[in-house]
Protein backbone atom coordinates (compact mmCIF):
# COMPACT_ATOMS: atom_id res chain seq x y z
CA UNK A 1 0.00 0.00 0.00
CA UNK A 2 2.10 2.93 -1.26
CA UNK A 3 1.28 6.53 -0.38
CA UNK A 4 -1.28 8.11 -2.76
CA UNK A 5 0.43 10.14 -5.50
CA UNK A 6 -2.15 12.95 -5.33
CA UNK A 7 -3.49 14.09 -1.98
CA UNK A 8 -7.22 14.63 -2.36
CA UNK A 9 -8.79 17.02 0.21
CA UNK A 10 -10.48 14.88 2.90
CA UNK A 11 -14.11 15.92 2.33
CA UNK A 12 -14.08 17.45 -1.17
CA UNK A 13 -14.52 21.24 -1.30
CA UNK A 14 -11.62 23.62 -1.93
CA UNK A 15 -7.91 23.08 -1.38
CA UNK A 16 -5.85 26.20 -0.69
CA UNK A 17 -2.47 24.37 -0.87
CA UNK A 18 -1.23 26.33 -3.87
CA UNK A 19 -2.04 29.73 -2.38
CA UNK A 20 1.57 30.51 -1.36
CA UNK A 21 2.96 29.41 -4.69
CA UNK A 22 0.43 31.55 -6.60
CA UNK A 23 1.17 34.59 -4.45
CA UNK A 24 4.89 34.17 -5.14
CA UNK A 25 4.31 33.77 -8.87
CA UNK A 26 2.10 36.84 -9.10
CA UNK A 27 4.82 38.86 -7.34
CA UNK A 28 7.16 37.76 -10.14
CA UNK A 29 4.66 39.04 -12.67
CA UNK A 30 3.02 35.79 -13.78
CA UNK A 31 -0.70 36.40 -14.33
CA UNK A 32 -3.50 33.95 -13.69
CA UNK A 33 -5.38 32.86 -16.80
CA UNK A 34 -8.72 34.71 -16.92
CA UNK A 35 -11.78 32.79 -15.70
CA UNK A 36 -14.78 32.41 -17.90
CA UNK A 37 -17.04 35.05 -16.42
CA UNK A 38 -20.53 35.79 -17.46
CA UNK A 39 -20.14 39.59 -17.63
CA UNK A 40 -23.85 39.67 -17.69
CA UNK A 41 -27.21 41.30 -17.47
CA UNK A 42 -29.74 39.34 -15.41
CA UNK A 43 -33.08 40.68 -14.20
CA UNK A 44 -36.22 39.61 -12.41
CA UNK A 45 -39.55 41.20 -11.72
CA UNK A 46 -42.82 40.35 -10.01
CA UNK A 47 -46.00 40.84 -12.02
CA UNK A 48 -49.61 40.26 -11.07
CA UNK A 49 -49.62 36.48 -11.55
CA UNK A 50 -46.03 35.54 -10.65
CA UNK A 51 -42.39 36.15 -11.51
CA UNK A 52 -40.53 36.84 -14.77
CA UNK A 53 -36.77 36.23 -15.03
CA UNK A 54 -34.60 37.46 -17.89
CA UNK A 55 -30.96 37.07 -18.94
CA UNK A 56 -28.63 37.75 -21.87
CA UNK A 57 -26.60 34.90 -23.43
CA UNK A 58 -22.96 36.01 -23.69
CA UNK A 59 -20.09 34.40 -21.75
CA UNK A 60 -16.71 36.19 -21.82
CA UNK A 61 -13.16 35.21 -20.94
CA UNK A 62 -11.25 38.48 -20.63
CA UNK A 63 -12.24 40.47 -23.70
CA UNK A 64 -13.05 37.47 -25.88
CA UNK A 65 -16.54 36.01 -26.17
CA UNK A 66 -16.27 32.30 -25.45
CA UNK A 67 -19.94 31.39 -25.75
CA UNK A 68 -22.34 33.43 -27.88
CA UNK A 69 -25.44 31.60 -26.72
CA UNK A 70 -25.08 30.17 -23.22
CA UNK A 71 -27.94 29.54 -20.77
CA UNK A 72 -27.91 31.67 -17.66
CA UNK A 73 -31.35 30.82 -16.30
CA UNK A 74 -30.84 27.67 -14.25
CA UNK A 75 -33.45 25.20 -13.08
CA UNK A 76 -33.77 24.86 -9.31
CA UNK A 77 -37.19 23.26 -8.84
CA UNK A 78 -40.32 22.88 -11.01
CA UNK A 79 -41.55 26.21 -9.60
CA UNK A 80 -38.21 27.97 -8.97
CA UNK A 81 -35.57 29.26 -11.43
CA UNK A 82 -32.31 31.12 -10.79
CA UNK A 83 -30.29 33.49 -13.01
CA UNK A 84 -26.54 33.55 -12.40
CA UNK A 85 -23.85 36.19 -12.95
CA UNK A 86 -20.14 36.09 -12.09
CA UNK A 87 -17.79 33.17 -12.66
CA UNK A 88 -19.60 30.67 -14.90
CA UNK A 89 -18.27 27.59 -13.10
CA UNK A 90 -19.38 28.96 -9.74
CA UNK A 91 -22.94 29.77 -10.83
CA UNK A 92 -23.35 26.37 -12.51
CA UNK A 93 -21.95 24.42 -9.57
CA UNK A 94 -23.87 26.28 -6.88
CA UNK A 95 -27.24 26.13 -8.67
CA UNK A 96 -26.80 22.44 -9.53
CA UNK A 97 -25.89 21.63 -5.95
CA UNK A 98 -28.81 23.50 -4.41
CA UNK A 99 -31.19 22.07 -7.01
CA UNK A 100 -30.20 18.55 -5.87
CA UNK A 101 -30.55 19.51 -2.21
CA UNK A 102 -34.04 20.87 -2.94
CA UNK A 103 -35.07 17.62 -4.56
CA UNK A 104 -33.92 15.63 -1.54
CA UNK A 105 -35.79 18.08 0.66
CA UNK A 106 -38.95 17.55 -1.42
CA UNK A 107 -38.68 13.82 -0.92
CA UNK A 108 -38.11 14.35 2.79
CA UNK A 109 -41.05 16.72 3.35
CA UNK A 110 -43.42 15.51 0.62
CA UNK A 111 -44.22 19.09 -0.37
CA UNK A 112 -43.50 21.55 -3.20
CA UNK A 113 -40.26 23.51 -2.63
CA UNK A 114 -40.45 27.04 -1.27
CA UNK A 115 -38.35 29.88 -2.63
CA UNK A 116 -37.07 30.80 0.84
CA UNK A 117 -35.69 27.26 1.19
CA UNK A 118 -33.61 27.67 -1.96
CA UNK A 119 -32.61 31.11 -0.73
CA UNK A 120 -31.37 29.80 2.60
CA UNK A 121 -29.41 26.91 1.05
CA UNK A 122 -27.71 29.32 -1.34
CA UNK A 123 -26.87 32.05 1.17
CA UNK A 124 -25.49 29.60 3.71
CA UNK A 125 -23.24 28.00 1.08
CA UNK A 126 -21.98 31.33 -0.28
CA UNK A 127 -21.36 32.86 3.15
CA UNK A 128 -19.36 29.88 4.31
CA UNK A 129 -16.96 30.45 1.37
CA UNK A 130 -16.55 34.11 2.35
CA UNK A 131 -17.11 35.46 -1.17
CA UNK A 132 -14.56 33.21 -2.90
CA UNK A 133 -17.40 31.50 -4.76
CA UNK A 134 -18.08 34.36 -7.15
CA UNK A 135 -21.77 33.83 -7.87
CA UNK A 136 -24.28 36.69 -7.95
CA UNK A 137 -27.80 35.31 -8.34
CA UNK A 138 -31.35 36.41 -9.02
CA UNK A 139 -33.68 33.79 -7.59
CA UNK A 140 -37.36 33.77 -8.46
CA UNK A 141 -40.30 31.41 -8.10
CA UNK A 142 -43.92 30.91 -7.11
CA UNK A 143 -44.81 28.68 -4.19
CA UNK A 144 -47.69 28.11 -1.82
CA UNK A 145 -47.08 31.47 -0.12
CA UNK A 146 -47.06 33.46 -3.38
CA UNK A 147 -44.50 34.85 -5.85
CA UNK A 148 -41.01 35.69 -4.54
CA UNK A 149 -37.96 37.41 -6.00
CA UNK A 150 -34.57 37.59 -4.28
CA UNK A 151 -31.04 38.71 -5.11
CA UNK A 152 -28.05 36.92 -3.59
CA UNK A 153 -24.58 38.45 -3.49
CA UNK A 154 -21.29 36.47 -3.59
CA UNK A 155 -20.60 37.11 0.09
CA UNK A 156 -23.96 35.71 1.13
CA UNK A 157 -26.21 38.71 1.71
CA UNK A 158 -29.70 38.68 0.21
CA UNK A 159 -32.42 41.17 -0.70
CA UNK A 160 -36.10 40.62 -1.32
CA UNK A 161 -37.35 42.91 -4.03
CA UNK A 162 -40.22 43.52 -6.48
CA UNK A 163 -37.71 44.04 -9.31
CA UNK A 164 -33.99 43.32 -9.40
CA UNK A 165 -30.96 43.36 -11.69
CA UNK A 166 -27.45 41.89 -11.32
CA UNK A 167 -24.24 41.60 -13.35
CA UNK A 168 -22.09 44.10 -15.25
CA UNK A 169 -25.15 45.32 -17.18
CA UNK A 170 -27.24 45.78 -14.03
CA UNK A 171 -27.09 49.57 -14.12
CA UNK A 172 -28.29 49.74 -17.72
CA UNK A 173 -31.16 47.34 -16.94
CA UNK A 174 -32.09 49.03 -13.65
CA UNK A 175 -32.37 52.36 -15.47
CA UNK A 176 -35.18 50.84 -17.55
CA UNK A 177 -36.88 49.27 -14.55
CA UNK A 178 -36.78 52.44 -12.48
CA UNK A 179 -38.40 54.41 -15.32
CA UNK A 180 -41.11 51.98 -16.31
CA UNK A 181 -41.90 49.51 -13.53
CA UNK A 182 -45.26 49.64 -11.83
CA UNK A 183 -47.16 47.18 -9.64
CA UNK A 184 -49.74 44.82 -11.12
CA UNK A 185 -48.21 44.41 -14.58
CA UNK A 186 -49.85 41.89 -16.91
CA UNK A 187 -47.84 39.01 -18.37
CA UNK A 188 -47.28 40.70 -21.73
CA UNK A 189 -46.35 44.04 -20.18
CA UNK A 190 -43.94 42.23 -17.86
CA UNK A 191 -42.27 40.27 -20.67
CA UNK A 192 -42.01 43.47 -22.71
CA UNK A 193 -40.36 45.34 -19.81
CA UNK A 194 -37.90 42.53 -19.06
CA UNK A 195 -36.96 42.30 -22.74
CA UNK A 196 -36.35 46.04 -22.85
CA UNK A 197 -34.17 45.89 -19.73
CA UNK A 198 -32.07 43.02 -21.06
CA UNK A 199 -31.72 44.73 -24.45
CA UNK A 200 -30.51 47.85 -22.66
CA UNK A 201 -27.81 45.71 -21.04
CA UNK A 202 -26.99 43.95 -24.31
CA UNK A 203 -26.45 47.14 -26.31
CA UNK A 204 -24.87 49.36 -23.67
CA UNK A 205 -22.71 46.94 -21.69
CA UNK A 206 -19.81 45.23 -23.44
CA UNK A 207 -19.91 42.24 -21.08
CA UNK A 208 -23.46 41.34 -22.19
CA UNK A 209 -24.71 40.50 -25.65
CA UNK A 210 -26.35 38.19 -28.16
CA UNK A 211 -29.88 37.01 -27.32
CA UNK A 212 -32.57 37.45 -24.66
CA UNK A 213 -33.76 34.48 -22.57
CA UNK A 214 -36.99 34.77 -20.56
CA UNK A 215 -38.64 32.55 -17.96
CA UNK A 216 -42.22 33.21 -16.81
CA UNK A 217 -43.27 31.43 -13.61
CA UNK A 218 -46.85 31.44 -12.38
CA UNK A 219 -48.77 29.30 -9.93
CA UNK A 220 -48.59 25.75 -11.19
CA UNK A 221 -47.03 26.70 -14.55
CA UNK A 222 -43.75 27.85 -16.06
CA UNK A 223 -42.72 28.98 -19.54
CA UNK A 224 -39.07 28.90 -20.51
CA UNK A 225 -38.68 31.17 -23.57
CA UNK A 226 -35.16 30.32 -24.75
CA UNK A 227 -33.92 32.96 -27.22
CA UNK A 228 -37.15 34.91 -26.95
CA UNK A 229 -35.50 37.72 -28.90
CA UNK A 230 -32.47 37.56 -31.21
CA UNK A 231 -31.61 41.19 -32.01
CA UNK A 232 -28.04 40.51 -33.15
CA UNK A 233 -27.77 38.57 -36.38
CA UNK A 234 -24.41 38.39 -38.14
CA UNK A 235 -24.20 41.51 -40.29
CA UNK A 236 -22.16 40.31 -43.22
CA UNK A 237 -21.92 36.91 -44.84
CA UNK A 238 -19.59 36.92 -47.80
CA UNK A 239 -21.23 35.74 -51.05
CA UNK A 240 -17.85 34.21 -51.90
CA UNK A 241 -17.19 31.13 -49.82
CA UNK A 242 -13.81 31.16 -48.14
CA UNK A 243 -11.81 27.98 -48.50
CA UNK A 244 -8.79 27.00 -46.47
CA UNK A 245 -6.81 25.00 -48.99
CA UNK A 246 -3.44 26.53 -48.16
CA UNK A 247 -1.54 24.34 -45.76
CA UNK A 248 1.91 24.38 -44.26
CA UNK A 249 4.42 23.70 -47.02
CA UNK A 250 6.20 20.32 -46.99
CA UNK A 251 9.87 21.06 -47.58
CA UNK A 252 11.45 17.65 -47.05
CA UNK A 253 10.30 14.09 -46.34
CA UNK A 254 12.69 11.62 -44.73
CA UNK A 255 11.72 8.24 -43.30
CA UNK A 256 13.99 6.61 -40.72
CA UNK A 257 12.86 3.12 -39.69
CA UNK A 258 13.24 2.46 -35.96
CA UNK A 259 15.34 -0.48 -34.88
CA UNK A 260 13.93 -2.97 -32.45
CA UNK A 261 15.43 -2.62 -28.98
CA UNK A 262 13.99 -5.78 -27.53
CA UNK A 263 14.41 -9.13 -29.21
CA UNK A 264 11.35 -11.30 -28.79
CA UNK A 265 12.05 -15.04 -28.65
CA UNK A 266 9.14 -17.44 -28.53
CA UNK A 267 9.79 -20.07 -25.86
CA UNK A 268 7.15 -22.73 -25.67
CA UNK A 269 4.50 -22.33 -22.99
CA UNK A 270 5.53 -19.02 -21.49
CA UNK A 271 2.33 -17.97 -19.76
CA UNK A 272 1.08 -21.15 -18.26
CA UNK A 273 0.38 -21.28 -14.59
Amino acid sequence: MGKAVIDVPPKGGFSFDLYKRNAMLSKDGVQLPPFTKTGTTIVGLIFQDGVILGADTRATSGSIVCDKNCEKIHYMAPNIYCCGAGTAADTEAVTDMVSSQLQLHRYHTGRESRVVTALTYLKRHLFSYQGHVSAALVLGGVDFTGPHLHTIYPHGSTDTLPYATMGSGSLAAMAIFESKYKEGLTRDEGVQLVTEAICSGIFNDLGSGSNVDICVITKGNKEFLRNHLQPNPRTYVSPKEYSFTKKTEVLLTKITPLKEKVKVTEVGDAMEE
Binding site: S168, F203, G207, T235, Y236, V237, E249
Partner: protein, 219 residues
Amino acid sequence: MEDEQTTFLTLLSVVAIAGADYCVVAADTRMSTGYSILTRGYSKICKLADKSFMASSGFQADVKALQKHLSAKHLIYQHQHNKQMSCPAMAQLLSNTLYYKRFFPYYAFNVLGGLDNEGKGCVFTYDAVGSYERVGYSAQGSGSTLIMPFLDNQLKSPSPLLLPAVDAVTPLSEGEAIDLVKTVFASATERDIYTGDRLEIVVLNADGTRYEYMELRKD
Protein backbone atom coordinates in the same frame (compact mmCIF):
# COMPACT_ATOMS: atom_id res chain seq x y z
CA MET B 1 -11.10 48.01 -10.40
CA GLU B 2 -7.55 46.68 -10.26
CA ASP B 3 -6.52 48.01 -13.64
CA GLU B 4 -7.35 51.73 -13.70
CA GLN B 5 -4.99 52.30 -16.65
CA THR B 6 -6.72 50.07 -19.17
CA THR B 7 -10.14 51.53 -18.47
CA PHE B 8 -9.17 54.60 -20.49
CA LEU B 9 -7.96 52.69 -23.52
CA THR B 10 -10.05 52.11 -26.58
CA LEU B 11 -8.59 48.99 -28.05
CA LEU B 12 -10.72 48.34 -31.16
CA SER B 13 -9.45 46.86 -34.41
CA VAL B 14 -7.78 48.28 -37.50
CA VAL B 15 -6.87 46.48 -40.71
CA ALA B 16 -5.07 47.48 -43.91
CA ILE B 17 -4.50 45.56 -47.14
CA ALA B 18 -2.27 46.65 -50.04
CA GLY B 19 -2.94 45.69 -53.64
CA ALA B 20 -1.21 46.15 -56.99
CA ASP B 21 -2.82 49.53 -57.61
CA TYR B 22 -5.04 50.16 -54.55
CA CYS B 23 -4.92 50.22 -50.77
CA VAL B 24 -7.72 49.49 -48.30
CA VAL B 25 -7.63 50.82 -44.72
CA ALA B 26 -10.45 49.88 -42.37
CA ALA B 27 -11.36 50.42 -38.72
CA ASP B 28 -14.47 50.01 -36.60
CA THR B 29 -16.04 53.13 -35.09
CA ARG B 30 -16.65 52.06 -31.50
CA MET B 31 -14.89 53.91 -28.70
CA SER B 32 -15.11 52.09 -25.38
CA THR B 33 -13.69 52.25 -21.91
CA GLY B 34 -13.80 49.35 -19.46
CA TYR B 35 -17.19 47.71 -20.04
CA SER B 36 -18.94 50.84 -21.34
CA ILE B 37 -19.31 52.38 -24.77
CA LEU B 38 -18.34 56.04 -24.98
CA THR B 39 -19.53 56.54 -28.55
CA ARG B 40 -20.55 54.42 -31.52
CA GLY B 41 -19.42 56.82 -34.25
CA TYR B 42 -15.76 57.69 -33.72
CA SER B 43 -13.47 57.68 -36.77
CA LYS B 44 -10.00 56.28 -36.17
CA ILE B 45 -8.75 56.76 -39.71
CA CYS B 46 -6.89 60.02 -40.27
CA LYS B 47 -5.82 61.49 -43.59
CA LEU B 48 -2.22 62.59 -43.22
CA ALA B 49 -1.58 63.33 -46.90
CA ASP B 50 -3.35 62.80 -50.24
CA LYS B 51 -1.97 59.30 -50.47
CA SER B 52 -1.40 58.38 -46.81
CA PHE B 53 -4.01 57.30 -44.29
CA MET B 54 -3.20 56.30 -40.75
CA ALA B 55 -5.43 54.14 -38.58
CA SER B 56 -4.56 53.74 -34.90
CA SER B 57 -5.72 51.75 -31.93
CA GLY B 58 -4.79 52.36 -28.31
CA PHE B 59 -5.10 55.44 -26.13
CA GLN B 60 -7.03 57.91 -28.28
CA ALA B 61 -5.69 61.05 -26.61
CA ASP B 62 -2.16 60.00 -27.59
CA VAL B 63 -3.43 59.14 -31.07
CA LYS B 64 -4.95 62.61 -31.50
CA ALA B 65 -1.69 64.25 -30.35
CA LEU B 66 0.29 62.08 -32.77
CA GLN B 67 -2.00 62.98 -35.68
CA LYS B 68 -1.67 66.71 -34.93
CA HIS B 69 2.10 66.39 -34.73
CA LEU B 70 2.31 64.61 -38.09
CA SER B 71 -0.09 67.03 -39.81
CA ALA B 72 2.01 69.97 -38.65
CA LYS B 73 5.22 68.34 -39.91
CA HIS B 74 3.52 67.58 -43.22
CA LEU B 75 2.42 71.20 -43.65
CA ILE B 76 6.00 72.40 -43.16
CA TYR B 77 7.21 69.81 -45.70
CA GLN B 78 4.66 71.07 -48.25
CA HIS B 79 5.86 74.64 -47.80
CA GLN B 80 9.51 73.66 -48.15
CA HIS B 81 9.25 71.18 -51.04
CA ASN B 82 6.14 72.37 -52.88
CA LYS B 83 4.61 68.90 -52.98
CA GLN B 84 2.80 66.35 -50.81
CA MET B 85 4.73 63.72 -48.84
CA SER B 86 4.82 60.27 -50.39
CA CYS B 87 3.61 57.31 -48.32
CA PRO B 88 7.07 55.77 -47.70
CA ALA B 89 8.32 59.22 -46.61
CA MET B 90 5.37 59.58 -44.22
CA ALA B 91 6.13 56.09 -42.92
CA GLN B 92 9.66 57.09 -42.00
CA LEU B 93 8.40 60.32 -40.39
CA LEU B 94 5.92 58.39 -38.24
CA SER B 95 8.62 55.98 -37.14
CA ASN B 96 10.95 58.82 -36.15
CA THR B 97 8.15 60.64 -34.31
CA LEU B 98 7.32 57.53 -32.30
CA TYR B 99 10.95 56.75 -31.43
CA TYR B 100 11.52 60.33 -30.34
CA LYS B 101 9.30 59.47 -27.38
CA ARG B 102 11.01 56.14 -26.76
CA PHE B 103 11.09 56.66 -22.98
CA PHE B 104 7.52 57.92 -22.57
CA PRO B 105 5.82 56.40 -25.60
CA TYR B 106 2.67 57.32 -27.47
CA TYR B 107 0.28 54.53 -26.50
CA ALA B 108 -0.75 54.07 -30.12
CA PHE B 109 -0.65 50.97 -32.33
CA ASN B 110 -0.62 52.23 -35.87
CA VAL B 111 -1.12 51.03 -39.37
CA LEU B 112 -0.28 53.35 -42.27
CA GLY B 113 -1.80 52.71 -45.68
CA GLY B 114 -1.46 54.47 -49.01
CA LEU B 115 -0.04 54.53 -52.51
CA ASP B 116 3.67 54.90 -53.17
CA ASN B 117 5.24 57.02 -55.94
CA GLU B 118 4.65 54.30 -58.56
CA GLY B 119 0.96 54.01 -57.64
CA LYS B 120 1.32 50.61 -55.98
CA GLY B 121 -0.46 49.99 -52.67
CA CYS B 122 1.68 50.03 -49.55
CA VAL B 123 0.93 49.18 -45.93
CA PHE B 124 3.29 49.88 -43.04
CA THR B 125 2.73 48.37 -39.63
CA TYR B 126 4.12 49.81 -36.37
CA ASP B 127 4.58 48.99 -32.75
CA ALA B 128 4.25 51.62 -29.99
CA VAL B 129 7.86 52.89 -30.23
CA GLY B 130 8.31 53.16 -33.99
CA SER B 131 9.58 49.83 -35.26
CA TYR B 132 8.02 49.48 -38.71
CA GLU B 133 7.93 47.24 -41.73
CA ARG B 134 6.39 47.44 -45.16
CA VAL B 135 3.95 44.54 -45.54
CA GLY B 136 1.15 43.42 -47.83
CA TYR B 137 -1.49 43.44 -45.07
CA SER B 138 -1.72 44.07 -41.35
CA ALA B 139 -4.08 44.17 -38.39
CA GLN B 140 -3.67 45.96 -35.03
CA GLY B 141 -5.73 46.35 -31.90
CA SER B 142 -7.85 44.05 -29.76
CA GLY B 143 -9.21 42.08 -32.72
CA SER B 144 -5.79 41.60 -34.31
CA THR B 145 -5.26 38.23 -32.63
CA LEU B 146 -8.51 37.08 -34.23
CA ILE B 147 -7.98 38.75 -37.62
CA MET B 148 -4.26 38.19 -38.39
CA PRO B 149 -4.40 34.36 -38.58
CA PHE B 150 -7.24 34.53 -41.09
CA LEU B 151 -5.43 37.12 -43.23
CA ASP B 152 -2.27 35.02 -43.05
CA ASN B 153 -4.19 32.00 -44.26
CA GLN B 154 -5.81 33.83 -47.17
CA LEU B 155 -3.06 36.24 -48.21
CA LYS B 156 0.32 35.02 -47.04
CA SER B 157 2.58 34.02 -49.88
CA PRO B 158 4.18 30.56 -49.80
CA SER B 159 7.43 30.03 -47.92
CA PRO B 160 10.40 32.01 -49.28
CA LEU B 161 12.37 28.74 -49.33
CA LEU B 162 10.30 27.55 -52.26
CA LEU B 163 9.90 30.65 -54.34
CA PRO B 164 12.09 33.60 -55.25
CA ALA B 165 11.57 36.81 -53.22
CA VAL B 166 7.93 37.88 -53.36
CA ASP B 167 6.47 41.37 -53.65
CA ALA B 168 5.03 42.90 -50.50
CA VAL B 169 1.71 43.15 -52.31
CA THR B 170 -1.33 40.85 -52.29
CA PRO B 171 -2.74 39.25 -55.46
CA LEU B 172 -6.36 40.25 -54.76
CA SER B 173 -8.58 42.53 -56.79
CA GLU B 174 -9.99 45.62 -55.07
CA GLY B 175 -13.49 44.14 -54.78
CA GLU B 176 -12.15 40.94 -53.27
CA ALA B 177 -10.06 42.87 -50.76
CA ILE B 178 -13.10 44.87 -49.60
CA ASP B 179 -15.12 41.68 -49.30
CA LEU B 180 -12.33 40.14 -47.23
CA VAL B 181 -12.19 43.16 -44.92
CA LYS B 182 -15.97 43.08 -44.36
CA THR B 183 -15.92 39.35 -43.59
CA VAL B 184 -12.98 39.73 -41.24
CA PHE B 185 -14.64 42.51 -39.23
CA ALA B 186 -18.01 40.74 -39.08
CA SER B 187 -16.18 37.72 -37.65
CA ALA B 188 -14.04 39.70 -35.21
CA THR B 189 -17.19 41.47 -33.92
CA GLU B 190 -18.75 38.11 -33.05
CA ARG B 191 -15.96 37.25 -30.64
CA ASP B 192 -14.34 40.50 -29.48
CA ILE B 193 -16.34 42.73 -27.15
CA TYR B 194 -14.42 45.89 -28.11
CA THR B 195 -15.16 45.62 -31.84
CA GLY B 196 -18.52 46.53 -33.33
CA ASP B 197 -21.09 49.25 -34.18
CA ARG B 198 -19.94 50.39 -37.63
CA LEU B 199 -17.09 49.68 -40.03
CA GLU B 200 -15.39 52.53 -41.87
CA ILE B 201 -13.45 51.54 -45.00
CA VAL B 202 -11.15 53.90 -46.91
CA VAL B 203 -10.16 52.80 -50.42
CA LEU B 204 -7.28 54.58 -52.19
CA ASN B 205 -6.59 54.06 -55.84
CA ALA B 206 -5.55 55.92 -58.97
CA ASP B 207 -9.00 57.56 -59.21
CA GLY B 208 -8.75 59.05 -55.73
CA THR B 209 -10.16 58.19 -52.32
CA ARG B 210 -13.46 56.54 -51.53
CA TYR B 211 -15.21 56.01 -48.16
CA GLU B 212 -17.50 53.05 -47.51
CA TYR B 213 -19.48 52.14 -44.39
CA MET B 214 -21.00 48.92 -43.14
CA GLU B 215 -23.10 48.19 -40.05
CA LEU B 216 -21.71 45.78 -37.47
CA ARG B 217 -23.29 44.14 -34.43
CA LYS B 218 -24.08 46.70 -31.74
CA ASP B 219 -24.04 44.46 -28.67
